[in-house]
């Protein structure tokens, strides 16, 4: 045929041929003309912080996973393997940048200090939301795939109306890119040139579906069709992610409009604790990605630059253990809410209809208790 299929173009998107990387799997540094300038201040202390952050995030994930197996949590969607993507991006934001995640971005809640009580309540079935979004600038978890990308875009429209330079960040997965909402979000973001970052964690699976079911071309190509530039980065390289997010943040803050980041990573665990990934993927694929572990990689790098990794590991361990204790305390002391609270907050003021239903419920509950 006389017209060519789209060819990846460096002008449209960076990292299409190979995801942008600065840390190799062995911990050595790779030069990147694009990313390096944004990493100049990343000294040993900064790297140590990222290492500890990732370690804590992983530990929380492991603890929650274990609590699910023990029946303390009803469900858990693990982030194992995605620590660099989440921590690297989250740490490039300032506190007043508002993040809109899905259900797997636990790192956002952890790093922004939302506390475990509420945060884990969602997975205990006690609540739908774990924290005050306004207090932490983190939206409540979103389960409807892609819906939050529109919220982030609208939020970013609003920051512009305010004349503020806050940025909104939408986190979503590879599967989400197929939803109409995500594409409409790019239409609006591009049309209004709003300060939003579309942060796609391509962890290679939407439940059982490999990313090729969603797209035959790299996901980072998608936004270019909307006039939105994209950065495709090694999602297991915390520095690459960090630098890419800084670039996008700078663009957004200075009126440059939206940026799309595809962080190429891998979901090491099951989709959730009820999933059985052996039904749809091979062990050797998982093993290959284990080699690319984001935390090990940064640790090797710290080693290479002569940092005292034994001490850093030790400190991380202490912090992780403390966090784990805090987490388990929160879960162990959590109590299921009184059923009558199900009538709260449907509206900002009680309505006659719900007051009646609440009264019915209470009378019924009392009558049952009376019988017993």
């Amino acid at each position: 045929m006389s017209i060519a299929m789209p060819a990846p173009r460096a002008e449209l998107v960076s990292g299409l041929d190979a995801p942008l990387t600065v840390l190799r799997a062995d911990g050595s540094r790779e030069a990147s003309g694009l990313l390096d300038p944004h990493l100049a201040d990343m000294d040993e202390t900064a790297l140590t912080d990222l290492f500890i952050d990732m370690s804590i995030v992983r530990r929380v994930d492991q603890e929650a996973f274990a609590l699910t197996r023990q029946g303390k949590l009803a469900l858990w969607p693990p982030l194992l393997g995605q620590e660099a993507a989440q921590v690297g991006s989250a740490r490039a934001l300032r506190d007043t940048d508002f993040v809109f995640g899905s259900y797997r971005e636990h790192a956002l809640a952890i790093l922004r200090g939302t506390g475990f009580g509420g945060f884990l309540g969602v997975w205990e079935g006690h609540a739908f939301s774990g924290w005050d979004p306004h207090a932490h600038h983190v939206a409540t978890p979103q389960i409807i795939i892609g819906a939050q990308t529109l919220h982030a875009t609208g939020y970013a429209m609003a920051t512009r109306m305010d004349g503020a330079d806050d940025v909104a960040v939408a986190y979503f997965g590879d599967g989400a890119t197929s939803e109409g909402d995500v594409n409409e979000a790019m239409v609006f973001a591009s049309a209004f040139r709003v300060p939003v970052i579309f942060f796609c964690q391509n962890n290679h699976y939407a439940i059982s579906e490999p990313v090729r079911v969603q797209s035959g071309t790299p996901l980072a190509l998608r936004p270019t069709g909307f006039g939105i530039p994209a950065l495709r980065v090694d999602g297991n390289d915390v520095l690459a992610v960090h630098a890419a997010t800084r670039i996008a943040i700078e663009r957004a803050r200075s009126g440059g409009g939206p940026t799309f980041i595809e962080a190429v990573t891998y979901r090491m665990g099951p989709h959730t604790t009820t999933d059985d990934p052996t039904r749809y993927r091979r062990d050797d694929e998982v093993a290959a990605w284990r080699e690319k572990d984001p935390i090990v990689r940064l640790e090797r790098h710290l080693d290479r630059i002569g940092a005292r990794t034994d001490r850093i590991r030790e400190e991380a361990q202490v912090r992780c253990d403390a966090t784990a204790r805090e987490l388990r305390d929160a879960v162990m002391t959590a109590e299921a809410p009184d059923p009558v609270t199900m009538f709260d907050h449907v509206y900002t003021e009680p309505t006659a209809r719900l007051e009646r239903q609440r009264a019915e419920h209470l009378a019924f509950a009392a009558s049952i208790e009376g019988d017993a």
Binding site: T140, G154, Y155, V187, A352
Partner: protein
């Protein structure tokens, strides 16, 4: 003195303008609402007056219109978004029922969604498919939304102001066949989003309706009075939650109820009102409540809409049934009717 004569559509425009004027967090967004002033000219002149940042012509995507409004509400705005016609609200359904309606509940009251979704609705305008629908029952079935409409310019003005001022999300169904109906509007009059209004008192039959059918019901009341029958016409105003108290109180007096709306009957607002009144006032009922609604077909081509819509005669026919008088169904095998 703040009273002037306005058409219903213009009264809504006035309410939008006054809301934009009095609260800088109010923004309008929708397709063609800016330069064009909306396909019904309801927002005429507002973009010129308040600028493109507050009266926003959006790309053609309903889910995004509502979904970005959610984001704006997250940042403290009070977006008023327009869905151009009733039949185009469905692409936004997920954002409305799973996001707008639930974020306050989901966040245990921490995030408010003071969003008003304007939907011109209803038939009788001789239009093409998807331009004459009454989808309000879908939203009435959705906890977390307030669903309202208006039957006069005054109601439209005051209810729109209340909707925008409400911290709850409000679906505002604008009766488009009544956009050109004129009436006095006092901009100082306030309204709530909860209560029905008894428009005519009458001892025989309660007729509860809303939006465009209120006019028909009032005409029916006049026609009935010629035969010595008194109708108590109630303008529900709030479609959800319904003001069952007012209707039940009326039925306690009349013992008879007719509910009318343009939407199809099945699992509708009329079904709900009847079920609620039966629950509340069963001993008072002297006849089976009757529905006068659109039939359970898609809204038909406009040449047929006259027969589809609740008409004065269909309402009177239902009134007759509740009174055990001869009606069109006499002879059909119905077991209902008066006892």
């Amino acid at each position: 003195m703040t009273t002037s004569e306005l058409a219903l559509g213009a009264a809504i425009g006035r309410a939008l303008g006054d809301a934009l004027e009095s609260d800088e967090k109010v923004v309008l967004m929708g397709e063609d609402i800016g330069r064009l002033g909306g396909v019904f000219r309801v927002t005429d002149g507002l973009q010129a007056r308040f600028g493109k940042n507050r009266v926003i012509d959006s790309p053609l995507a309903e889910s995004a219109i509502v979904g970005t409004a959610v984001g704006m509400a997250y940042r403290g705005y009070r977006p008023v978004v327009e869905i151009q016609f009733d039949g185009f609200v469905y692409p936004a359904f997920d954002q409305i029922v799973a996001q707008v309606a639930r974020l306050h509940y989901r966040t245990q009251g921490r995030v408010r969604m003071p969003i008003t979704v304007r939907v011109p609705y209803g038939g009788d305008i001789g239009s093409v498919e998807h331009h004459s629908e009454s989808p309000e029952s879908y939203f009435a079935h959705t906890p977390g939304l307030r669903v309202v409409t208006a039957s006069s310019p005054q109601e439209a003005y005051s209810t729109m102001r209340a909707a925008i001022a409400s911290d709850d999300p409000v679906m505002f169904f604008e009766p488009k066949s009544r956009y050109w109906a004129k009436g006095d509007v006092d901009t100082d009059l306030t309204r709530d989003l909860d209560t029905a209004a008894v428009l005519t008192t009458g001892r025989d039959v309660t007729v509860a309706t809303y939006g465009p059918v209120v006019k028909t019901a009032l005409e029916a009341a006049i026609a009935a009075s010629d035969e010595g029958i008194e109708l108590e016409v109630i303008d529900l105003r709030a479609i959800s939650p319904l003001d069952v108290d007012t209707v039940a109180a009326s039925v306690e007096r009349t013992g008879r109820l007719v509910v009318a709306h343009e939407a199809p009957a099945e699992a509708s607002v009329a079904s709900e009102l009847i079920a609620s009144v039966v629950e509340r006032s069963f001993p008072a009922l002297r006849a089976a409540p009757e529905r006068v609604t659109g039939y359970d077909t898609p809204y038909p081509p406009s040449a047929l809409e006259g027969a589809y819509l609740p008409s004065l005669d269909r309402i009177l026919d239902a009134v007759d049934r509740t009174l055990g008088r001869r009606s069109s169904r006499t002879g059909l095998e119905y077991a209902g009717g008066a006892r």
